[in-house]
């Protein structure tokens, strides 16, 4: 059993936007498939500030994942400019990008992407290993992160001994353990049933309340509803940028 979670807040909290974290300008992405070229992004502009809770919406194939991978410094744009915390990502060397992925960004994938042979604790400790945190502090912080996502009693379970929702919680704990500036989640509920998906979204709500900045990619209106701002993508372009709650 996972620890009970607080219900989705009926009166939703709202934190005023803080400093600029992400700024992209005219970003394009081309994929070359033999003779054919796929324009996954055709010139996207967006600014994201601390304390935002943003959903990127759009139909399948609209370029959501491509954009998200770029924001997560996992992929590089073909054209345009991406500044993270005021620094142009194109000018960063590999090690700086690794550092950003390690300390500034927590990435949550649709397919969890946990190390299958390591238990929950070790999976959550891993970013701290690469951050050079010592074993004792690492363990303590990983345990705390697991407790925070309601998995305090599952720390020695391997991914295949956990349910889908629990796996995603481990992945979220891993994304947050190094206290990143921003949490990126690409269809975090895509592999979960709707009830479990709601639980994960409740967790995101709670994380937002705790002061995290969150970007969620989804193609489901129900999921996007949780966010304070929704960016709609279509065919590689931003169609609309709305703030329903504001």
């Amino acid at each position: 059993m996972i620890a009970p979670l607080p219900p989705v807040a009926t009166a939703r909290s709202y934190r005023p936007p803080g400093s600029l974290v992400i700024r992209i300008e005219g970003v394009t992405k081309l994929y070359r498939m033999g003779a054919e070229t796929v324009h996954a992004l055709r010139g996207v502009n967006v600014e994201i500030r601390r304390n935002e809770y943003l959903a990127i919406m759009g139909p399948s194939g609209s370029g959501k994942s491509t954009l998200m991978n770029m924001l997560g410094c996992l992929d590089t744009p073909t054209g345009g400019r991406y500044d993270f915390n005021g620094k142009n990502v194109a000018h960063m060397v590999d090690d700086e990008l690794a550092e950003i992925r390690n300390r500034e960004i927590g990435f949550v994938f649709q397919t969890f992407n946990l190390l299958p042979r390591s238990d929950a604790l070790h999976n959550v400790e891993l970013p701290l290993v690469y951050a050079g945190v010592g074993p004792a502090e690492r363990r303590e912080r990983a345990l705390e992160a697991l407790k925070n996502v309601g998995l305090g009693d599952r720390v020695h379970h391997k991914p295949n001994e956990l349910s889908g929702g629990q796996r995603q919680r481990v992945a979220i704990a891993r994304a947050l353990v190094n206290r990143p500036s921003i949490l990126l989640a690409d269809e975090p509920t895509g592999n979960l049933d709707s009830r479990t998906g709601e639980e994960i979204m409740a967790l995101f709500e709670q994380l937002y309340d705790q002061g995290n900045t969150i970007i969620v990619v989804t193609h489901e209106e129900d999921i996007a509803r949780h966010a304070r701002r929704i960016v709609r993508l279509r065919d590689g372009l931003i169609e609309r940028d709305e703030r329903p709650g504001a």
Binding site: G72, R101, R103, N113
Partner: protein, 413 residues
């Protein structure tokens, strides 16, 4: 990132594929085992072989029809076998020629007619006693000493008296509770009076040196047919300084005795403790070189195996690499992870090889009555080689892993 973290990761992932890791390691183990085993055996045996081969007294060299301690092959063996025997007359001529320069010249000959059994009253020895004829210089030549009774005198030898000096093994068998001196022992149908006993010498190459009966050489030859035997002559140089000169004189004297013309080659062999040890050293070097070649080949094959397994591992773990990179692993950390894995594979294979090699080599040494050794130098070289192999074989796969694109590798299934 700390080395201890990387090591932990390496052991963790090698533990996942235990059988594969073990098989990959075993190539290295075999390569290291063969060289360490041989080196251990050779160094363990060197001491005992050197004392074993040093049976001659100080500053002594020996002349005989056959070279000692060397296995001759085809051509050479035939040439040596065609040589004339060194007869007693020739040996005595040689002795006369050396007189005034070297006074310690031992003539000796040993039985070649199969196992010898010595009997006294109703007691008898095991068959296989060393039975031979010699003169008063046998003690100096072969490093024996008299325990009871006396040595042969020149007179005993000149007159061919039927006397015998017996070793401790023979003594214990035939005279467990009485003095052997003056007693008549029988070798075959011949009877000899015991005039002395040799002090114990222990064994050499697992063979007792106390299982011996010596008689005056003249007596031995007349009893057993002089024509069939070739005499071996041991000569002692008066001092180390004149050793080489003595050898030169001995060769000249021997050539005269053998009536060789200026153009003829020596038809006898001359050897010393040192030359025998040198022959052993040469054989040992060949064995070592052989072991090195074999292990080099095995290690080369093993390092190809490691590289192969590491490449497979990088491909299989593409997703894992993507995950690690996505949470902030630097390329260098990934490189080190795979490199250390290869080094751990290779080094643990090497350590097992060293362990097995030392154990096997020493077991062999103990079996051959040699002292136990640990070849630190070869173990160190082995570990260093394994490290180099691990780095070399692991470098390309590790670079390949480190250079993987994070998003491409995350997509890999």
């Amino acid at each position: 990132m700390l080395l201890s973290e990387i090591l932990r990761m390496a052991f963790r992932s090698l533990g996942v594929n235990k059988l594969r890791s073990f098989l990959t390691m075993s190539g290295i183990t075999i390569g290291v085992f063969s060289v360490i085993g041989v080196m251990t055996t050779v160094s363990a045996m060197r001491g005992s072989i050197e004392t074993g081969l040093s049976f001659l007294g100080v500053n002594m060299f020996q002349i005989g029809k056959y070279p000692n301690g060397i296995q001759l092959s085809g051509e050479n063996r035939r040439r040596v076998e065609q040589r004339r025997n060194i007869t007693l007359e020739q040996a005595q001529r040689y002795r006369q020629l050396m007189e005034g320069w070297s006074d310690v010249v031992c003539l000796k000959v040993f039985n070649r007619d199969g196992p010898v059994q010595v009997t006294y009253a109703n007691r008898k020895t095991e068959p296989g006693v060393n039975f031979g004829g010699t003169n008063e210089h046998f003690l100096a030549a072969n490093q024996y000493s008299i325990e009871a009774g006396r040595n042969f005198t020149p007179e005993d030898v000149d007159l061919g008296r039927p006397f015998a000096i017996i070793g401790q093994d023979v003594l214990k068998r035939l005279f467990p509770s009485e003095s052997p001196l003056g007693k008549m022992i029988k070798v075959g149908s011949r009877t000899y009076t015991v005039v002395g006993t040799f002090a114990a010498k222990g064994s050499n190459f697992g063979q007792s040196q106390d299982d011996i009966v010596m008689t005056p050489i003249t007596r031995f030859l007349s009893d057993h047919g002089a024509a069939r035997f070739s005499i071996t002559i041991a000569t002692q140089a008066p001092s180390q300084e004149v050793y080489n000169e003595t050898v030169d004189r001995a060769i000249t004297a021997m050539r005269m005795v053998r009536s060789l013309q200026a153009e003829d080659e020596n038809d006898f062999e001359l050897y010393s403790n040192d030359s025998l040890i040198a022959v052993f050293a040469q054989v040992a070097d060949i064995v070592r070189a052989g072991a090195l070649v074999i292990s080099a080949i095995a290690l080369l094959a093993a390092s190809v195996g490691i590289m192969n397994i590491m490449l497979v591992s990088v491909t299989e773990r593409t997703k894992e690499i993507g995950i690690r990179k996505s949470i902030g692993a630097r390329s260098r950390s990934i490189l080190m992870q795979f490199l250390i894995e290869a080094v751990v594979l290779s080094l643990s294979g090497g350590m097992v090889g060293i362990l097995l090699g030392v154990v096997t080599g020493n077991a062999l040494a103990v079996w051959l009555n040699a002292a136990v050794v640990f070849p630190w130098d070869w173990a160190a070289i082995g570990l260093l080689t394994c490290t180099i192999i691990g780095v070399t074989a692991g470098l390309y796969p590790a670079l390949k892993a480190a250079r993987l694109d994070p998003i491409e590798s995350l997509r890999y299934e």
